[in-house]
Amino acid sequence: MSIQVSNIRKKFGSFTALDGVDLHVPRGKLVALLGPSGSGKTTLLRIIAGLEHADPGSGKILFHGEDVTDVSAGRRKVGFVFQHYALFRHMTVFENIAFGLKVRSRRERPNRSEIADRVQKLIKLVQLEGLDARYPTQLSGGQRQRVALARALAVEPKVLLLDEPFGALDAKVRKELRRWLRRFHEEIHLTTVFVTHDQEEALEIADEVVIMNQAKVEQVGTPQEVYDRPASPFVYQFLGNVNMLRAQALAHAGAHPAPAAREGSDGLIYVRPHDIELVPDSPGAFGALAVVRYLHMAGPQARLTVELVQTRETVEAEISRPQLTALGIGLNDIVRVRLRQGHSFDEDYAI
């Protein structure tokens, strides 16, 4: 089922959480709402779920073309997974998952054995076989989150909403679980929206990423689109490390082709660390002169911090370790900096 959000506004006191947000989530897609804390992403998710209501006079929420703006959370047929699981502590895994079925009115409630069947299927689906009699406190964080997911799926929702689902887990489990979520999504193809502040997570598993900042949507696109063609300096900075350098100075040094000087431009060029090229200084070499200030070697890539001689700007660079060895660059060496590619938000100029 597709989700259409149009012109939603929400204020908490004097704080604007959502400022006229529009969003379309196509049917069967896995969409990430990505943004820093306070950007409104969780509020938007909660409004889609019906846990929060948009300010009066603002727009609508449509599920598959049907207006659900005034429909209560319980009747929207959404599955909601909370960051801190919100499992019922006094119920076993089985009882937690069965809850949504057991609270139905007698007419709609499946009978005991049907409930048991469905719960067992879900337990299998989230790979928690044999743990159905455990209480939530007897499970690990990752297991708890999967119980929460199974509980949300038990009521056969049309839409699955996850609020920072992996936020409370440690790094390794988080990676495993998000890949598992991706595979899981490919199996069941349920329209899914998840909130995250982790750009890596969003870029890795989402079909489409919605980047939010200060109560507004900054950009919507596939992970590759938003990474390669960021729509704003904010998006550029938010999706990974970036160097912001004064374009003119670099051009004079021959580090990249000269931009046309433009009135009113910020004159900055945005470059990812892996797009920085370093060469040892030698007669005839071109590029901006710089001194290597830090060398960080733990990890697959060597990370260097160099200081430009002319402007004293620091530049972060990432090159592979064999390449670093081949170049023979060490601490405090003089190097020349060139840009493989960069991005400028001045109109129609990019290199």
């Binding site: 779920a49 019906g50 846990l51 209560s72 959370a73 319980g74 009747r75 959404v78 599955g79 909601f80 909370f82 801190h84 919100a86 019922f88 502590r89 006094h90 119920m91 809850f99 949504g100 609270v103 139905r104 209480y135 939530p136 406190t137 007897q138 929460a148 509980r151 949300a152 038990a154 009521v155």
Partner: protein
């Protein structure tokens, strides 16, 4: 000679603090209570039985336990409501109401007893309206129950408040998303979460009511066989220099309250079965 030393703890003073705790508990709790048992042990079995099982004493047990139980239950229900209102809603005067809850703790119980009697007597503020309806409060068993309810309220409210504050709103939201209505959310999600604290509050209110003396003696009228509570009976025996009789009843009361509290503790353990193991 080799000495075996316990592994050094980062928090020193275990021996000292435990020693102090034991000494303190002995002086304040254990020795006075043991004295009651020792005094009672000097009685013959027949004397003991006649002291603790005479019809007048049995009637006082019934009243004391019955009224304390009823007061505890009523406090559990209304204390939950008060705690809920104080935690969940913000309204003008909330802090005043919050402070009011503690009054029964601080007020001398005799004052409470006299005030309640004045209000519920047949010419009192409340009593004058109840009297025509045929409800007598002052000088009846109902009066005992009213006094015990009054002094027990803060125990339930104060044990529940922090637990209610900690209760995640997400639990209710999760329940609502899963299609539960408000009533189902309260009975199936919130109440089970609160049960351990509710039992603690109930146990405290009950225990307090069982030992209450000051407020009850004013409102009950102290008629033997009808409105005489057990602590009063002990007092009466003491005034008649019947020390053995008094301690014997005290021992029965002690054992009974101890077993009741033990039972409630077991219940609590059961209601907390889902906590970390």
């Amino acid at each position: 000679m080799s000495s075996v030393r316990a592994p050094r703890s980062i928090l020193p003073g275990f021996g000292l603090s435990l020693g102090f705790t034991l000494t303190y508990l002995s002086l304040i709790v254990l020795i006075p209570l043991a004295a009651a048992f020792i005094k009672t042990a000097g009685m013959s079995w027949a004397d003991f039985v006649s002291a603790v099982a005479s019809p007048r004493v049995l009637a006082s047990y019934r009243l004391s336990f019955g009224a304390s139980l009823a007061a505890g239950l009523v406090n559990a229900a209304f204390g939950l409501l008060v705690a809920w209102v104080l935690v969940r809603y913000s309204f003008p005067g909330r802090r005043v109401v919050d402070a009011l809850v503690d009054l029964p703790f601080a007020l001398p119980t005799a004052v409470a007893g006299i005030a309640l009697t004045a209000i519920y007597a047949k010419n009192g503020w409340v009593g004058q309206w109840l009297e025509p309806a045929g409800i007598k409060v002052a000088y009846t068993q109902l009066g005992v129950f009213v006094a015990l309810t009054f002094i027990g309220l803060p125990f339930v409210v104060r044990t529940l408040q922090p637990v209610l504050q900690e209760l995640e709103p997400e639990l209710e939201e999760a329940s609502a998303c899963l299609g539960a209505n408000r009533w189902q959310t309260i009975t199936r999600v919130i109440l089970p979460e609160l049960l351990p604290a509710l039992l603690t509050g109930f146990a405290l209110a009950f225990a307090r009511a069982l030992g209450e003396y000051g407020s009850v003696v004013f409102i009950s009228g102290n008629m033997p066989m009808r409105t005489e509570i057990t602590p009063l009976l002990i007092m009466t025996k003491l005034e008649q220099y019947d020390y053995h009789g008094a301690t014997a009843i005290a021992v029965v009361l002690l054992i009974a309250s101890f077993s009741t509290l033990l039972l409630i503790n077991l219940l609590q353990k059961w209601s907390r079965r889902f906590h970390r193991v």
